[in-house]
Amino acid sequence: MNRIEDDDLRELLPALRRFALWLARDASAADDLVQTCMEKALSRWTSRREEALKPWLFSILYRQFVDDKRRARRWGRLLDAFGWNDEPQEPSAEDTYAARSALASFEQLSDDQRAVLLMVTVEGLSYEETAAALDIPIGTVMSRLSRARKAYRELTGETAGISLRRVK
């Protein structure tokens, strides 16, 4: 029984890591995210309803990401309140990574928009699955998708596709 679920999980691992990477924008943070997600998935395996594995895993990971962010923000506010937050908000490694990636524009989208766009276009989840994974109504998925596409287009212009192909 363990072997079957392990194989299923293993198969989705690359997609999870990719999703996490594009949410967290930092390789080690992404893997931490995936690790926590896997732990939660394994401990909640039995309580999982009859839903597809992929959206279920994505929803765990996304919620973890949002929680982490909220916690980091709260912590940051606390540090700010005491005047200790001297470090730059964005580590320089991330900046160089973003610049190199040529997907910098994508990274400028909000977390919500990135999550929707990734789930729909890259991971191929249906709108229903995306709505379930993000725990939002399907109408919200559509409006976020629309805003994300327009914002992304504005940020990239028509040259994005060409320059990205060069990166490869």
Partner: protein
Amino acid sequence: MNPLIPTEDELHAYVDGQLDVARRAQVQAWLDDHPEMAAEVAAWRRQAETLRTALPTYLLPTNAALDPVAVRRTVRRRRQRRLALCASLVIAIGVGGLGGWQARDMSMAAAHPPMQDALEAYRTFATDRLRPVEMDASHASDLETWLSARVGRPMSLPDLQGYGFKLLGGRLLSTSDGAAALVMYEDSQGQRMTLYVRPSTRFPGNLSGSRQDNGLLAKYWFRNGYGFAVVGLANDPRTAQVQAAMPAAT
């Protein structure tokens, strides 16, 4: 209104391949007639293509720690570590509590050494030249009866004439455990020795010992809920002799 005009949602669904076949064909036909919208849709499609093709290039080297088997192991180890931590906390609290309790006993004992009141009684009354006792030895049997009745235990006053001490008299004292009797002896030079008897619940069993304290030597023992002490000058060899003979006599 032409029902064939697709909504924006339908255009997204078209790009994402989430339209059924029939509607897909209609949208396709409509887009053929509307190049402006078709350009927009093509741009969305390029975006999706961009993301799809760009992302794999950033795929990380495999991370063995993320494999389900490894994650299971990590979770198990963490649980064991937590259990061990809990256990060590319980043990630490237990050891600390027990040790603290014993330390409390020890410090109590250090702060209140057994039969310290016998020594204090000696210092208070044996040095008193005018009225060291309440009842003198002229009626030795009355003294014995009185002390026995008040202390609640038959008291036989030992004869220490063989050591050069004769009975001077006795007095009652009060302690936190009840009435105590102080019996005093005196030699021809006026040097004194006392026998002190008090109820005692703090030291059960047959504890006994001796202690030297500021020039005084006390020997004490406990029997049947009472504590006994013989106190004399430490530099007088007769003190130890009397003390050695005493338990048998009481």
